[in-house]
Symmetry: C2
Subunit: 353 residues, 2 copies
């Protein structure tokens, strides 16, 4: 058995037992709620976990970029939802190539996006399915009202090579009730107008345990739930014990009684704060605070620790936000507890376009 203490740091550890438990918990909750699960792979970026999600009952996967879709399609995933407005002829050509070999659906929130897709996709015998993206409170992409969604849907219906798939939203964390109301009102409008609404897809790990209250939604797209992280613990969606992704770092300096420096900075943990104080949770020294990061150094205030970390100590950190941590590392190391199993490439890392 190889112990994690034999690894060079910093390194990202992913505990397979915790992954499996997190995946099963969410699939069980979705099954009980009678809602389809379509996990977002942006968190793990690993074909093996995408396949496991599907094996456990997911109807397919969600991706955010064409590059991620290409990696997942190459690995054998066959049902993909790409939740991004695809703009430009080159990107549409890549989408077309994917559409020719797997089931892939996309979103649109503007006449420009729909017109572009309608120009590239012209085969009524094999139409591209398009969701209308709705801004239900997140303040990012999306049409602003049910009426605007209905008008956008009509544009999609009118294009011979496109097919209207339904409504898609990413709700603001903790505002799932507002999002559900928005979607319910929109559904009533569609019914009144006689426009069929095949699917309503929503998402978000912060509200994953409210899937049974998802109202009109037919599908749920959580991402972070596979690993969980400090932000999800703060949101009440997980415990620290359930966090499957940790960063292993080494104490490299103890310049003062109250300060410890580790070999993990923003190149490892990112500078994502997500509204929190500090840059992660130190599992082995819960009274330590990660008060600052530069690229390769993390600064810990250890003045509150009864026993303080020493130079050479190896510590595990639960990051604020696990998804961008996956994107910083070429590989992650799969473990069970303290046992190293395998180091694997993060296949869809850095697929930004």
């Amino acid at each position: 058995m190889t112990s994690i203490l034999e690894l060079e740091t910093p390194v990202v550890l992913v505990d397979l037992d915790k992954v499996e438990a997190n995946l099963k918990n969410a699939q069980d909750a979705a099954d009980k709620a009678g809602i389809k699960l379509r996990p977002h792979i942006k968190t793990h970026k690993l074909p093996r976990f995408a396949k496991r999600q599907v094996e456990l009952g997911a109807v397919g996967i969600t991706v955010q970029k064409l590059g991620e879709a290409e990696v997942m399609a190459d690995a054998g995933l066959s049902d993909l939802l790409l939740t991004f407005n695809i703009i430009g002829a080159k990107k549409r050509a890549r989408l077309k190539a994917l559409h020719d070999r797997v089931t892939i659906r996309v979103v649109a929130d503007s006449a420009e996006t729909v017109a572009g897709l309608a120009e590239t996709f012209v085969d009524a015998g094999k139409p591209l399915s398009v969701f209308v993206e709705c801004d239900t409170g997140m303040g990012r992409c999306g049409v602003q009202s049910g009426q605007a969604a209905l008008e956008m849907a009509k544009k999609i219906v009118a294009a011979p090579g496109l097919k209207f798939a339904g409504l898609m939203t990413y709700p603001a964390a903790g505002k799932y009730k507002e999002a559900q109301q928005w979607l319910a009102d929109a559904k009533a409008l569609f019914l009144g107008a006689g426009v069929s609404l095949p699917e309503i897809t929503t998402g978000g790990t912060p509200d994953i345990w409210h899937m049974s209250e998802a109202g009109v939604a037919t599908e749920y797209r959580p991402g972070t739930y596979i690993y969980m992280d400090r932000s999800q613990v703060v949101a009440g969606a997980a415990t620290f014990e359930q966090c499957a992704l940790t960063v292993l770092a080494t104490v490299v300096s103890r310049p003062t009684e109250g300060r410890a420096i580790i070999d993990a900075g923003t190149k490892t943990l990112t500078s994502d704060l997500l509204g929190m104080q500090g840059h992660g949770y130190v599992v082995d020294f819960p009274d330590a605070k990660i008060v600052g990061l530069s690229e390769e150094h993390g600064t810990l205030d250890v003045s509150a620790c009864a026993v303080k970390p020493k130079i050479g100590d190896v510590i595990r950190i639960i990051p604020n936000h696990c998804c961008p941590v996956s994107n910083l590392f070429d590989t992650v190391t799969l473990v069970r507890g303290d046992e190293v199993l395998e180091t694997v490439p993060v296949a869809a890392r850095g697929r930004v376009d």
Copy 2:
């Protein structure tokens, strides 16, 4: 000629004319100040630029991790300063392998680091040169006083396989005067104790144009100056026109009159704020504010723009902090103005350990 408008976005552009001008300006300033320049390659992570820095007069390069040193040594760079406490037998073995083939020097700020190095490096005929890292106000690594530096230096001198190289600091931005005073006081102590002090190395792009006031320092290690970024403009060290690294992004959504969404989020721009408001400077729409980022979306407030960006518009952004942007991309595209020259791998990207 290929135009940048033919590239898929998001993509990182590096303007070679601006790089060359930035490198020459700094080398000229160092020459005038009579101080050696040892650029930090963490910003660009590209052997070609490291070589150019040396061609223009740099005495060698600075790296922050062994992995970066290995990439640069493989590419033919032969004089490296690794400004990090090297802890652990595996890392020391890698350092030894580097020491066997190139000139590499390191830092130490603790008895533990020195003892570890002394255990691995035992050949008095080919000693490892070690600087004492000093905390001159940054609050990161480093001994806390000149007296502590002297004691650490004596430990290095006492180890047969180590050689004392001098003092190293990374001063807090804008506090170069305090740092110089700290170093001057330390130098006086060393002189008084009869301990030779071969080099005093300091750094930082924010204060690069104060190199002539570097006092007792003999060497300067700037990193960001090759590309510059919004934080350096705010610090007064550069103009926006001098910024060589830009991110090219596409407007993918215009959900409201005042909001534009681009296809660049934290996976492109990082969430580094460095004390500023907003996530970058939009060259083409200077009145736009990048008010929010998620992983793949950037949210712009365009309400102050007289002419507003349209869906499909391609815009250039100067990021808050260019160094971690380099670390997110497998490749960068070299340009001159709007002309694409070549896309090259970021050779030392992701070398975290």
